[in-house]
Amino acid sequence: MPNVGFIARREYAALVRGRLFFVSTLVLAGLAMFVAVLPVAAKLIDRGSTTTVAVVSTDPELSRQTRRVLTSMLNSSGSDFDLIAASDEQTALAQVADRELDAAVIASRRPDGQLAFSFHLGETMGQQQTGTLSLGVFGVAVLDYAAHNPVSGFQQPTIDIFKSVGGSDGERPFDASTFASRLIVGAVFGFLIFITIVIYGMWVAQGVVAEKASRVMELLVSAASTRQLVIGKTLGIGLAGATQTTIVLVPALLVLAGEEAIARLVLGQGVGIAASVSSLSPGLLLAFALFYVLGFALYSLVYAAAGSLVSRPEDLQIIALPLSIVAIAGYGMGLLALTGGITGFIRLASYVPFWSPFVMLTRLSVGRVEPWELALSVALLVATIGVVGVVAIRIYGAGVLLYGQRPGLRAYVSAARGR
């Protein structure tokens, strides 16, 4: 089918040589680079700044012990927390409100000996710090109990969290930093697939509408079959999209890969930064490429059919909206899988063809995927592309020569059935 190649080449050249492509590539590449340097930049900006937490207590020993434990725990991840003693609760709370203090921890002992802590947090204290504070005061309580009930040999425990991800057979669980890196990789991949489908899918639909609006479609359909036109257009625009993604992604990935070295260079030795892409394995890259191509193919076929149904570019948004909502739902579920764990519903969604490019990829990044699950997901996606392709090409064939009048749903159902 050489015509598919000719059509794809024209579509690719028309897009890549266009001003829109140049500008959008420039903007997206700038954005990606910004995101890539963000962790180092944030460190650089935060360098020298200290988070100050006041510990208010009328019991000097309790105040000292609390500061000692919290200093140790809050600064364990390389942050700079300063724990100071304060005697007046109202003054400390007023300072938190005025942003002079980042937080105040009120520590007291009740008559029955039980320790009581209350946290008053400013805007700089996130969920992670709050969790650490809670854990820290628990340690204070344990040490306090040990001091009053002497036992020998008590040691503060160390805590490590491992996540079981990847394949089930003999794969080593990842430690917390690798898991965090996988979260970032999963989020970036999900985002890339989402914008690929929404942006480049819309390019396909817009291309069809433009050919209808300029009436060049009449010449095209007499020179090539609708199947060649749809596949050629999808291929050409898909390749243009892949070109843009590569141009945008590669420099950003290189920066992320050298993140630690850049951090050392900019911030000096000893300032650690968790590598964002350290978990980017060839397997994950391959899975991304596979779901990127299949996801785009599925959505762009529907976008092509959608484009054939309207005659004016301004009508396209209305008809493309339902499809965009389906894609947004898939992307949302992918994000849910990243942050909320892999539930039964998420597992089911990772097999559903219109969602699997987002959700299965996320699962592969941060969850456990059995080989049969991956095979099922890909097989369902490929089969759906085949069915949707046949229907979309029939609708495209019926739609591209209709101007002005909008045929009823019955006409399109009939076209989709090949009648």
């Binding site: 050489p2 015509n3 000719f6 059509i7 024209r10 028309a14 300029s214 009436r215 060049v216 479609m217 009449e218 010449l219 095209l220 359909v221 007499s222 020179a223 090539a224 079959s225 020569l401 101007y403 045929p407 009823g408 019955r410 006409a411």
Partner: protein, 361 residues
């Protein structure tokens, strides 16, 4: 004398008329096509002789564009067949046909030469040959400087020329053109007419639809007039005129130009009255001499007397009931469907026509 050929040629809504004098190469047989409730084609059937310029006439909505799209394979008929040299059109390569659609369109931001090469490539022409042919045709249409220009920089007339070049560049056997003369100035109409005749000399079959009867009379050897999805008359233009059975007189007289004495001549009537010249229609069998004799007998001083054939426009009105540029839309129910006998009759007419019979009504 074949049945129906003695009188006027219509009404022939269920039949085709022949007598082209050339072998039939494109045969369109009882096409039916509906779009929802709208009947676009209702048993449309006609044949096109090879190597001729063929006029496909009808008002808007008559079914011309739908027929062309079915011939091209862009649309599928509900029933009926299209054959070219005996082969089903659906089995033929797309390059058999060249198509100039009624709605002109090119890629606005693409260079003319690039689009011409692109369309030729889709028809299987190598790019170097396509470039050569494109430059030849651009020169033939006296616009070689347009090659490097973008389509959106061209006038409508020039865009139309580029589209026509796109339709002929792959050297198709049959050219289907939907209203090719619309929007062209007289100079470009003349250039296009020359190109048509040149293509015919090369053995191409040209089929075009138009509202412009004078263009058809100047270029076409054969025609089909279509109305409400059916061919109402078709065949060689000469035979259709002859079968119309009437003649026209253009008369100028001194004195009373209302020609009161004409009432005495049976079978003669004023078609268009005029102060300078009056158009008189004569029924079949009425001799022009009778009119002249009546004028002289009544003392009229005749200053101009010209015998003419009935115009194509008049034939169109006779069969369709309105001029070709009258827009009309119709829905199901307006057109009574063919019953089984009528379909059989149409098929029988076609068989006899293919065998080389005279035009029939």
């Amino acid at each position: 004398m074949p049945p129906g050929s003695a009188g006027t040629i219509g009404p022939v809504t269920r039949a085709r008329v022949w007598g082209y004098g050339s072998p039939v190469t494109l045969s369109i047989d009882r096409l039916h096509k509906r779009f929802g409730d709208v009947v676009a084609l209702d048993g449309l059937a006609f044949d096109v002789p090879g190597g001729q310029v063929f006029g496909f006439l009808g008002a808007n909505g008559a079914g011309k564009t739908t027929t062309m799209r079915i011939v091209l394979g862009v649309l599928e008929a509900d029933s009926g067949t299209v054959t070219w040299r005996g082969a089903d059109s659906r089995t033929l390569p797309r390059a058999t046909w060249g198509y100039l659609p009624e709605e002109r369109g090119l890629y606005p931001r693409m260079r003319v030469i690039d689009q011409l090469i692109y369309f030729a490539e889709l028809y299987g022409i190598p790019p170097d040959r396509a470039r050569r042919e494109a430059m030849h045709w651009l020169a033939r249409f006296r616009v070689p400087d347009l090659a490097e220009r973008r389509a959106d920089e061209l006038s409508k007339g020039n865009q139309q020329k580029i589209q026509l070049i796109a339709a002929v560049l792959h050297d198709p056997e049959v050219l289907l053109m939907d209203e090719p003369f619309t929007g062209l100035d007289p100079v470009n109409v003349a250039i296009l007419r020359e190109a048509f005749l040149e293509l015919r000399e090369q053995g191409k079959t040209l089929i075009f639809s138009t509202h412009q009867m004078e263009t058809v009379e100047a270029l076409c050897e054969s025609i089909a007039i279509v109305d409400r999805g059916r061919v109402v008359v078709g065949g060689s233009l000469r035979e259709i005129r002859r079968a119309a059975g009437r003649r026209l007189l253009h008369i100028s007289v001194e004195g009373d130009h209302r020609l009161p004495w004409l009432a005495a001549v049976e079978g003669a009537r004023i078609l268009r009255a005029g102060v300078g010249r009056t158009e008189v229609e004569l029924d079949e069998g009425v001799e022009p001499d009778a009119v002249l004799a009546a004028a002289i007998a009544n003392g009229a001083s005749v200053t101009h007397f010209e015998i003419d054939e009935v115009s194509l426009e008049q034939i169109f009105i006779d069969h369709v009931g309105r001029p070709a540029d009258d827009d009309e839309h119709f829905a199901v129910g307006d057109v009574p469907p063919l019953d089984g006998d009528e379909v059989a009759a149409a098929a029988a007419v076609r068989r006899s026509a293919v065998a080389g019979d005279e035009p029939v009504a």
